[in-house]
Symmetry: C2
């Protein structure tokens, strides 16, 4: 009997629905020839949903989402000009809520140049690395507080919480990936200043490294990592780092790869207990929503990461190859100004050529 997958789809706000529509087209195309039954259930969540219902992510919705094989996520976040929506609430309660409640220990963010696609860097060759960002702790834990708010004596704290459990599993995941790639791993932290967490990260990496004698690893401070990323990105293969450093470095990585419109990500539940989630790195971009000008590439590449996660690796490769081929063609032909749907359709056509 064919495998069955029931995907939860959260299009979200802004350009989310537009780019997810293209992911769905591409999935339909690539899965038409695959012996797997894939069904989709849409969930209406995000800023608009919150305004209507007051729900960011209810227990009930969370329980339903847990039953799915995977989650395909567009983008959420209110228009910052919309005064009805307190800043960051949707991002925290829904997006981070899902990452934390579904124990997405590994936030996977590949960065790869596409032949011909221009980048802001001058004369750098192609590169291909992946950032393995911790997804469930660190400065994102929400620990901290305020004392004497609004007075000259106010103190506000943020506590980065790092556990052996959380660090070890993400470091091990990164080593496994390095083993499959070019056997090179870089730990990025700031262990000369953040000595408590830095010691845990560095020590854990040293320990896990013993299980992977073929993989060589080095250490780099996060500030230095930004320099290498713009001057020498080829030096990286697998980067493992904490939640906040990973957030910062992957936006930089997206920028030097050709833009946030191309950057895909997967929030992985490494234990396979809960569904993993796949989303473009970009946000909801309310300023360009509904105009069919958003680039669906990041969402489409994120669905390839999802296929990989579901074990449909051939389909995953087919999507990636179609995207690469199509981007290269457009770059060579100097094609610009395509609509969101035109780009999605072109990816579909490319996939059909190869089936």
């Amino acid at each position: 009997m064919a495998e069955q997958f029931d995907i939860a789809v959260i299009p979200g706000d802004g350009i989310g629905p537009e780019v997810i529509a293209e992911s769905r087209k591409v999935l339909d195309a690539v899965l038409s020839g695959v012996e797997a039954q894939v069904s989709y259930t849409e969930y209406s969540l995000g800023a608009a949903h919150w305004l209507e219902t007051g729900e960011t992510l209810s227990e009930e919705t969370l329980e339903k989402l847990k039953q799915h094989s995977a989650i395909l996520f567009g983008a959420v976040g209110a228009d910052p000009l919309d005064a009805r929506i307190p800043s960051g609430v949707i991002e925290r309660e829904l997006l981070l809520g899902l990452r934390f409640n579904l124990d997405h220990s590994v936030n996977l963010r590949p960065s790869q140049t596409f032949p011909g696609v221009s980048t802001p860097l001058d004369g750098e060759g192609d590169f291909d690395f992946v950032v393995v960002r911790e997804g469930t702790e660190g400065p994102y834990a929400g620990n901290g507080g305020q004392l004497r708010r609004g007075t000259p004596q106010e103190i506000a704290t943020e506590v980065s919480v790092n556990t052996a459990h959380g660090v070890r599993r993400v470091v091990r995941d990164a080593f496994l990936r390095a083993q499959e790639r070019s056997k090179k791993l870089t730990l990025v932290h700031k262990n000369n200043v953040l000595t408590y967490a830095g010691d845990l990260w560095t020590r854990t990496t040293r320990e896990v490294a013993e299980e992977f004698p073929e993989v060589t690893w080095d250490y780099m401070h996060v500030d230095a990592a930004t320099i290498h990323m713009v001057t020498d990105p080829q030096r990286f293969d697998v980067i493992v780092t904490d939640n906040l450093f990973g957030d910062i470095l992957t936006d930089l990585a997206a920028a030097i790869t050709g833009g946030i419109g191309l950057a895909s990500s997967g929030s992985i539940n490494a234990e396979g207990v809960y569904p993993s989630m796949f989303e473009p790195v970009h946000g909801s971009a309310p300023d360009i929503a509904g105009q069919q000008i958003a680039d669906p590439t990041a969402a489409v590449l994120s669905s390839a990461l999802m296929l990989d996660n579901l074990g449909l690796t051939e389909a995953a490769r087919a999507v990636e190859q179609a995207v690469h081929a199509q981007l290269t063609e457009w770059a060579q032909a100097g094609t610009t100004g395509l609509s969101t749907a035109q780009r999605g359709d072109a990816f579909v056509a490319k996939i059909k050529e190869t089936l």
Copy 2:
């Protein structure tokens, strides 16, 4: 009577002494025509000194340093291959020790392209912004700890400490600078995730902004700031941010400006109670030490920031103009491979032309 300044000089380790030697030459040249008596006292501090004496920064040395008009700092930090020196100790106890004990609330890091000097960015025009980094708190406070170290139950925390006092004074300093420049300020933080500290920073900026009606300001998340820095650096004028974000962004800023060899900084005691300190952003680079290949430009530009701080603004401008003119000449002539001393001598010659 001529003003008197007694400068403490801490050449430090690695390339520190080499680049400081050039700063000293430049200071001598530019101050020869100035009616001020400047004397220098050298302090032997750093990794080598620690190995000899066990001192990183004693109470006694600190008290002596407090008596000076300013501190000119090279670079400190051990050779990472030297197993006798625990990683980060010198940086923390000496460098951060000085910043914290001398209450260097404002860590000033200008970023400016030099006409003709190539950068890793493709086709971006010139830009000129300054990062005003908080220098005495945030994640650098050294708060945090470990529990059950070395066990599977280990927890390591880092506490970012933010006070109304610390945030307000650095934000005000940034607004003052913005007022003198193009009247545009950007607050960089991650207030959608780090809500306690983010709220303090954002609220304080909003409040201080009322004192500066001519300055317009906006807010940007730190991850997005890395993107704008490589795709659109012209959008920045004055950036104000916390200690850790400032650390990361200023290395990136140095990279896109043409390299860490050009990036100067000042750690300013805004109240004028203790001496401020001026140092290149680069580190001690033990791998190239003693070879006369280090670029002294960052150290020389840091001494210009020092002259500014001492009120010797004409001398400061003279140094900056000489450096700019010389870098442009070299870029136009394609000159490379000059030694550390040759570069310093050229700056001196340029200064002498204009005196």
